[in-house]
Symmetry: C2
Subunit: 389 residues, 2 copies
């Protein structure tokens, strides 16, 4: 095939942007063939704004069974990711799924099984992996130049939200509607990047505050302490209540320190491995003569279009995906583990007790209060995530 025929399921904030991207000249190997949304007003928007050739459906199921598409982009609310993706896969379609892959890692496993059984591709929209800043850090870490990672500290609080944001959708920031707060809505990219760069933590001890800064029932303030398999430790702090926020990622390695902040990745390089210096230096207060450099990037930050292009190239020529289903599962496992630790007040080891997580989430859903807010679709939301940092 010359171009992959793509269907977008869900024309909300993200789905709308994806439709616009797909009909632009930027993506040549994906062709927007169809779009679906349960809401008449969003279908109306689609009829008015998308080319006449794009078929509009009243549901994802209709689109999936229409025979109009080779692949679908799943942009429905989190809870509907599994059933939508599994249905598409079972009906022979490839899937590019918005983040998070699902709400529970158990659901995500079912999605992976469906992909395995169907032989079709399940990819994740982890667009921040296309960010040149994180790619250059990934390259540096992979090069081995810095040695083992010893510590990571990420403060990511630069996604301030007002109460109006949470009032803009009845599903928003409810256990029933989203299954979580800042962890599931804002953090999936950073949790994925953390794993991509540093590996998945062995354990997490989390402090999650629900409705700390907003009138919501889910968490909007989270601090996490992590331990990794190699003994490295880490701290991850996030919130939607800090103004102005911070996005500062520090990774301390045996022979280098890296700090990403303000759109730049800096590295301090040591002449020797600290683990050697520690036991061989005769200087009690050894101070390293470090070389400070800016990690050069290629300047490219393709974001969603980059993920889409890689998805098409994978289907057409077996080129690597930006992120696959396993990556989606791992990021969600970390997210779920943080929730579980926060809820139980205990350190959670990964892999964790998934049934316990599901039971506690069910309890929260049972106590969830459906909001009466009017659902609104904003067309500017995801641009925030396109910034370099």
């Amino acid at each position: 095939m010359e171009a992959v025929r793509m269907g977008v399921i869900g024309i909300g904030n993200m789905g709308t942007e994806h439709c616009k991207t797909l009909i632009s000249d930027e993506i040549t190997e994906l062709k927007l063939a169809a779009a679906a949304d349960l809401r008449p007003e969003r279908r109306e928007w689609a009829r008015k704004n998308l080319p006449k050739s794009v078929r509009i459906f009243e549901s994802g199921e209709e689109l999936i069974h229409s025979g109009t598409c080779d692949a679908v982009l799943v942009a429905v609310p989190h809870y509907q990711h599994p059933e939508t993706a599994v249905s598409a896969l079972q009906n022979g379609l490839h899937v590019l799924c918005e983040k998070p892959i699902a709400v529970t890692s158990g659901q995500a496993r079912q999605m992976l099984q469906a992909a395995e059984a169907s032989g079709k591709t399940l990819a994740l929209m982890f667009n921040q992996r296309t960010n040149c800043l994180y790619r250059t850090v990934k390259n540096f870490l992979s090069s081995g130049r810095g040695g083992e990672i010893k510590r990571v500290n990420w403060i990511v609080t630069d996604w301030y939200r007002t109460q109006r944001y949470y009032d803009s959708g009845s599903w928003r920031a409810t256990w029933k509607g989203e299954g979580g707060g800042v962890l599931l809505n804002q953090c999936p990219h950073q949790l994925d990047l953390l794993i991509w760069l540093c590996g998945i933590p062995r354990s997490v001890s989390a402090f999650c505050h629900a409705g700390k800064w907003h009138h919501i029932e889910v968490e909007d303030d989270v601090s996490v302490y992590m331990e990794f398999e190699n003994g490295a430790t880490g701290v991850f702090v996030t919130s939607t209540g800090d103004l102005p926020g911070t996005n500062r990622l520090e990774i301390d390695c045996e022979q280098a320190k890296i700090v990403c902040e303000n759109g730049t990745a800096r590295a301090w390089l040591l002449p020797e491995n600290e683990r050697t210096v520690c036991f061989e230096s005769s200087n009690p207060w050894y101070q390293a003569k470090t070389e400070e450099i800016v990690l050069e990037t290629d300047g490219k930050n393709e974001q969603h279009p980059g993920v889409m292009k890689a998805f098409a190239a994978h289907l057409l020529r077996e080129e690597p995906l930006t992120a696959d289903a396993e990556d989606g599962l791992r990021a969600l496992m970390l997210s779920n583990a943080i929730h579980l630790s926060g809820w139980t007040g205990k350190t959670v080891f990964i892999p964790f007790e998934e049934k316990l997580f599901e039971r506690l989430l069910e309890q929260k859903i049972a106590g969830s209060v459906q909001k009466t807010a009017q659902d609104r679709t904003y067309e500017t939301d995801h641009r925030n995530t396109a910034a370099i940092l």
Copy 2:
């Protein structure tokens, strides 16, 4: 009296520096009258290097009872602070005590009681309070310009130590000799500053790693999550194994963010209080128009001499101390609480169960291995602490 006659008890690393400071022209209202050390070689150093007028004693007790001093500067190992200070106070001498005030908060309370009973002054050598950077942050916070504190994040890992450092004293980094590691040796200033700037946490959840980077039995890597009375949260990360380290203090307030790093305190000022914006703005993704400023300092960073001058001025003219005994107790309570949380794996609320802390410390001391290292006195150590940050 014209000048306070001062005795220095303990002529190790710090005591040696204090003697040099006291005989310099810098301090006019304190006069070095005596010095004491149990070790012949340190008394020998004192006889060779101090003016003939300075009396040299073989023990703190001899110095205290000699009638040569109005006040003493206690610079003996941590464990001996209480008995030395209490003896001096009970014998009518004022005391300026090196940090930490003691090893257990119970001991510190006895010191406070002795000061109370004697009517003499017990002051703490919290020289980092003289640092213009922290003073300007303190002034900013006290002004109310930023509103309430919401979050604090301090990474202070810029005190790298090699194994040689820990091998330089048989008492170093042992439960029996020091009663702790990085928390008791390197951190007392920062724990004091944290309390001075943000108040004492209501609870701490700590992750203390003993001998993580060095062959020592005490902690050399600590991550702490804190909660404050007003609901603010915080993270404090420290280690003597990071190279090059970081010293970055971020304080997020309702109407400002402050970051101290690389010798500069920056503030981002908001036009409105975030707590108001959150519920009144119609913009879901409100982005504040912040004003970024450098918090101006007076450039003064007097360190130990500054604390000594204030101590003299307090005794002579009742001027304010840099830090008093209560400040010493509070900083130690926080330190003890962090240890207790790390040892028990539980969140510790302040005030904590002091008897439990003492019992667990006793167990650690009982299992402590006395090292055979040769004790060395370095004369350059404390200069590290004189840096602006």
